[in-house]
Symmetry: C2
Subunit: 526 residues, 2 copies
């Protein structure tokens, strides 16, 4: 559909190249413009399959201030040159830092990395988009050790970038969009907007009250290409008296359905306040070993071997990690409730650890770390199931109700299709208060041309089949953004038509991240 824009954007290979680059150098300094191929490679999709003419970053721009962001956009408007923005560019499994339109300028926010403010009383932070989870964590340990943050499994990413892409963490503040409060946005024309109470110059409530007096614009700037977020408020969690991470191991594949039915009420009533993660045996083992430690054959791993993996210590057909937080007596009672509800599943094993929330050890176990808001990168190992260092994955990620019916339906679909493509099924379910995300972690060896093609082909097929069953993606790889948007078909794709209407109003030259989430500016629409 948008094949014509998959060709390299030619602004930077045309006759104006030198003039444009000189303008950027004048605005950002030589250190803010990265042209050499090895340095730019860090902004490619780290899991780009071999043999693909993949989404290639053009020159990389590194503004260090709001004014420099404005300068970049001014130059881009002048030349109608697209700019693809990322925070740290760690959106791995969905394209990393690479742009939808090959050859686009890439604007990385890595140099805008200041924690601007932490309010220890209201427990909020104001951060720039280059601040990594690791950075805020370091800052809090030094300046506000009584406050916890929420982190995803890999802490190297940008807090802002993760939030804008509807990312999740695993403390009770793990719905990152819900824990966001207030933004500063540079619009395509360089104008600076602050959302919510930030609309007042001297507001005392910008980081505590989410809305202003009028429409709320924050949602517009998430998963979109309507502006560049340069500041964002984040809610922090007062350290709980007690932190109790828990593990549940299930013997049988079909126990997943039982678990989801019993888990739903515990999520709705807040007994479990974080976002539990349920993973299958292959996924769980991929945190520890590569595939060839178990099996070297072609095609999907035989069931007997998967069963053997499931029988390893602390593993199961499905394993759930979760945690309880708060007053010690309340947590003790919540543990009892969880034991009654989940521990009684036949064959299930339930175990807990217990820590003083104000005096955490330096956990080695990455699961205990991230559920306490301590960044880790240990689980990056999961991408190495096939091919070791050349291993990769693409995320196929659906939102759905928390029911056994829906859980079984997506598991069966994804497992059948992925196996039919010759790949192992690595399944992750992240459970929130009223919905869950099933991530089919489609793992493959990026160096294996055929396997890469199969991984992407099956993911594309799943997008369409799942949509027919009523399941839409919550996030998507660059390569499927148009396809995913196609599935949002109500009333002749009313969402896409409205997205385009807003796009044309706020970015008439179409310079900001064209194609992001299937939203194209007028000049690039088919």
């Amino acid at each position: 559909m948008h094949g014509q824009v998959l060709a390299r954007h030619d602004a930077l290979v045309g006759p104006h190249y030198d003039r444009i680059i000189n303008q950027f150098r004048a605005a950002l300094g030589a250190g803010g413009v990265i042209e050499d191929t090895p340095s730019r490679a860090a902004f490619r999709d780290p899991f780009a399959p071999a043999g693909q003419d993949w989404y290639e970053p053009g020159v990389v721009l590194m503004p260090a201030s709001v004014e420099e962001v404005q300068a970049v956009l001014r130059i881009a408007n002048e030349h109608k040159t697209p700019i693809w923005t990322s925070g740290q560019g760690r959106n791995n499994g969905y394209g990393g830092a690479s742009p939808r339109v090959s050859g686009s300028l890439v604007m990385s926010m890595r140099r805008m990395n200041r924690v601007l403010e932490v309010d220890p009383v209201s427990a909020t932070a104001l951060v720039e988009p280059g601040v990594r989870f690791f950075d805020l964590h370091d800052h809090l340990r030094a300046h506000a050790p009584h406050l916890w943050m929420s982190v995803p499994d890999l802490g190297w990413g940008s807090i802002v970038g993760n939030t804008l892409d509807h990312g999740m963490g695993y403390t009770p503040y793990g719905d990152h969009v819900a824990s966001q409060c207030g933004m500063e946005v540079v619009l395509a024309n360089g104008d600076v907007l602050r959302t919510g109470m930030g609309g007042m110059s001297n507001s005392r409530a910008w980081q505590v009250y989410k809305r202003g007096c009028g429409p709320s614009f924050d949602g517009l700037f998430m998963q979109s290409n309507y502006g560049v977020v340069t500041k964002m408020g984040v809610w922090l969690m007062p350290a709980p008296q007690c932190y109790m991470p828990g593990w549940l191991q299930l013997q049988n594949d079909s126990d997943l359905e039982v678990l989801l039915e019993r888990l739903r009420p515990l999520m709705m009533d807040g007994t479990i306040a974080n976002q539990p993660m349920i993973i299958n045996a292959v996924c769980a083992m991929s945190a520890f070993t590569q595939r060839d430690a178990w099996y070297n054959g072609a095609g999907p791993m035989p069931q007997a071997i998967i069963d053997e993996i499931a029988r390893q210590p602390m593993l199961g057909a499905w394993v759930m990690r979760f945690a309880l937080y708060g007053d010690e007596q309340v947590v003790a009672r919540q543990r009892q409730i969880v034991e009654d509800a989940l521990g009684s599943i036949p064959g299930a094993t339930l175990s807990f650890a217990k820590y003083d929330g104000h005096d955490l050890p330096d956990f080695e176990n990455p699961h205990e770390r991230v559920q306490a808001g301590i960044p880790s990168i240990a689980l990056d190992q999961m991408s190495r199931w096939y091919g070791g260092e050349s291993g990769g994955h693409v995320g196929f990620s659906c939102a759905m109700p928390i029911t056994g019916h829906d859980g079984a339906a997506i598991r069966n679909l994804v497992r059948n299709e992925v196996n039919a493509a010759g790949l192992d099924y690595s399944g992750v379910i992240i459970v929130s208060k009223r919905s869950m995300i099933h991530v089919g972690l489609v793992v493959f060896d990026t160096a294996d041309v055929e396997q890469g093609q199969q991984a992407y082909a099956v993911s594309r097929k799943l997008v369409q089949t799942a949509a027919q069953m009523g399941y839409g993606e919550y996030r998507s790889h660059l390569d499927f953004m148009d396809l995913v948007a196609d599935q949002y078909d109500f009333n002749n794709h009313a969402q896409r038509r409205f997205s385009q209407l807003i796009k044309d109003a706020v970015d008439p030259n179409g310079i900001l991240s064209p194609g992001k989430q299937g939203i194209w500016p007028a000049s690039m629409r088919a």
Copy 2:
């Protein structure tokens, strides 16, 4: 500033009157077009002060379906006639159903009053905009008695209308914007948009997952004039095992500061999961008696009489209502934590009641009702402090951090100014997880011309003074909408400029609720 549009809109007094009305009659049937003055009076601001040329409704249109809403907008576009939309029109204290531009057509959604769906498993409802809190409550009692809803103090309003205006209730689901999931919106051009997962024709997640795969538009359609919401998803609360409403009475005015400091951690960590309401003695007494039961003099009530009121049973200088919900043992422990934190304030009295959440009595006490999600209209009495049946109020309502410093600052400001205007200070603080709203309930006798003028004059002054202190309104009366928007001054009123940009894109003829929240279409801008 917008004086020119305060004049009656002339579309309906001009030569086209009959033709336009006939078009609406053809579209809606005679029963859908209300012209006679007595019937239209029900759509006036119920608290319009005497002697004011106030915001007068023109002809009232009552569509009964999405198609009829589309027909109304088609005719309005043809004639470029403004349409002011309300759900039930019970936005009392902020203008009721009356339009910002006097003489505008008023579109009431009262006939679109169906509860379209209740999902008893995921605990969600899908409602039309005319559904009152009373209606959904009746529906749930009949069809899903295990589910609670959240209600504001007065249950006669529209669930959708209240939510769109950032309204609040008093169960743990009381942040109504946060409990909203999915919308259907008729845009100004008649196109129908569904937000979030509703963008898919057959989504299974429209009411459980708040976002789609792309920008989130729901916030755009709240406190705005960008579209007409025709369906909305609402999250419901599984009945808790135990419901424990509590009361805290404080002896001294300055105890408010102490309370807020001790309450903040209990809000942040979820010990108190609903939205406590803290009211002063005058406000508390206004639920039971009129002012002249205590004092008949002009000017503000003397402190000695306020002190006497505060000494009445169950009252105090400040009184807080709140409630605990959940497992009986958890609630018992939470009660202990609350007793330790708040019961220890010198002179404080703390009391609790306890109910089986699955078998509630038919409470008489409106506070026990609304905190259990049972609608009431008893507290409408509060508007009768001055003047009895002709009593009214205007809400002056700021968002702020939960601190003693901020609570004292706004209390002192509002009390001083309201008293200086000769009026009693009726103060309400509604506390959320990370912010609070101080509502100065500026009560007056609508039949008293001078008092009405004073009430509005002091409210206008407060909007400006509070803004200088960093406190912005979270909601506002028609009469202050422009003034409130003026206070959002960051970067030369970037919020207003952006609001206008979106307005012009989505409603180029400016037909939808011009002036709402200070957002005017291009044709009406000064």
